[in-house]
């Protein structure tokens, strides 16, 4: 695996010295991001060594260019998810499937046993509604659901898989530290699903 230090990359050397890290929140519960925050005081260690350039923890609308690592939480459940993921993939060197939803689909994909998105929408907005049943249809309010929820690697190529629901803070710290050291993290004896 490439070092994510990125010092060989031409361009603004000062700026490149700190690897640009992004996080992406797709169809998931944000628990993986919570676990990220659970790194607690280790976040202080990381802060001077990385640039957190995008994600729910950062106030930025557009996914920036030249990201070194993106941690993708959540499964691909709707068109927006798919769009953001493809965008992130294009602009990032290393993409990590971050947590069980990203790796397997997990809880987000439980609706896949239903035949299609339409059935799911009916179940949610019509069958179980006690007041004003109806599927919202005004464009731009809700992104369209995909018929099937898919894990990240079925939509774009993934470089690293970090399963766990959520992955522990220790594991996240290990992964990021290894990447910062220019090593490929070896998760084979640290796997944990659920």
């Amino acid at each position: 695996m490439d070092s994510i230090m990125g010092t060989e990359t031409p361009g603004n050397a000062n700026h490149r010295a700190r690897p640009r890290i992004a996080t992406l929140w797709l169809g998931g519960c944000a628990g993986c991001h919570m676990s990220f925050l659970d790194m607690d005081e280790r976040l202080m260690d990381l802060a001077p060594r990385i640039s957190l350039v995008y994600g729910p923890l950062v106030d930025r609308k557009e996914f920036p260019d030249q990201v070194d690592v993106v941690l993708v939480e959540g499964a691909v459940a709707n068109e927006d998810n798919l769009h953001h993921l493809q965008e992130a993939r294009k602009k990032s060197r290393l993409l990590v499937a971050f947590g069980d939803c990203a790796v397997t689909g997990n809880v987000t994909s439980m609706r896949n046993t239903q035949s299609s998105a339409g059935v799911v929408m009916d179940r949610s907005f019509v069958e179980n509604a006690s007041l004003h049943p109806g599927v919202p249809r005004s464009g731009g309010i809700l992104p369209r659901l995909l018929d099937r929820v898919i894990p990240v690697h079925q939509a774009v190529p993934v470089d690293l898989f970090l399963p766990g629901c959520p992955p522990s803070a220790d594991l996240i710290f290990y992964l990021i530290s290894e990447l910062l050291e220019g090593r490929s993290p070896d998760l084979s004896d640290k796997l944990k699903y659920g």
């Binding site: 069980d100 397997t104 239903q114 796997l191």
Partner: protein, 238 residues
């Protein structure tokens, strides 16, 4: 009982001839993943996880059903065997609906553990997401087919240990199901004694006791060997 000598991964090992190859491997600290096999039940060689290579044979052999012979040369972890084991686990995880995070047996599950053992960090196959049912009709137990891997441990323990033969398999291929009696609800079964052996031997969270929430189930498996030994040695007849 005569003693045989065999070569396992280049090491000479001795074993008594009534042992299966799997017994010998485990005795010598060589761990292979197994799902359908459980000490005390008749082996069936169905999960294909314990396949090994034998010198002189171009086929792979399930260690759980292979009788040892003198001079047998066994390879347990060749590159392709390791690859096949991971693929088989991937196939299992993709077959039904396994959601570890919300599963009663999370942390104690054989299937999960085997995934770790073979280093399966993701499943490359498409998840099949079949719509399968949950039978919660029994007073004390639940059968959740979403988590069933069709290892048939429950079928065998019910037949061989409890003698009730409440369980069997219906259908074929991917639509195979573990059934109760003649495909009745478990709660309506006339033959089930409610002994719970099936629950204990189930490698996943497919069979569990009611009232358990995520990651709360621990299963006890060694009772089988006690029963079997007691039966074979007539320990209950004094």
């Amino acid at each position: 009982m005569s003693v045989k000598t065999l070569m396992i991964n280049g090491q000479m090992v001795s074993a008594s001839e009534d042992q299966t190859l799997l017994d010998v491997l485990r005795e010598n600290g060589i761990e292979l993943p197994t799902l359908c096999h459980l000490d005390g039940l008749t082996p069936i060689g169905a999960c294909r996880l314990c396949l090994v290579e034998l010198a002189g044979s171009n086929k792979l052999h399930p260690a759980c059903m292979t009788r040892i012979t003198e001079g047998m040369e066994v390879t347990t972890h060749s590159e392709r065997l390791v690859k096949y084991r991971r693929m088989i686990l991937e196939l299992l995880f993709a077959e039904r609906n396994h959601f570890c995070s919300i599963c009663v047996i999370n942390g104690q599950c054989d299937l999960q553990q085997m995934g770790y053992d073979v280093g399966m960090d993701h499943v490359r196959f498409e998840y099949q997401c079949p719509a399968v049912e949950v039978d919660a009709s029994h007073e004390r137990f639940i059968m959740d087919h979403n988590r069933c891997v069709l290892c048939t441990r429950c079928v065998r323990v019910c037949h061989e240990m409890e003698g009730a033969h409440t369980r069997d398999v219906m259908g074929r291929g991917g639509s195979s199901r573990i059934i109760t009696d003649l495909n009745q609800l478990w709660g309506k079964s006339g033959s089930c004694t409610g002994c719970g052996k099936c629950v204990q031997v189930c490698p996943t969270g497919a069979l569990f006791e009611k009232g358990r929430s995520a990651a709360e189930v621990v299963k006890q498996r060694d009772f089988l060997v006690y029963i079997k030994t007691a039966r074979e040695k007539h320990l209950w007849i004094q």
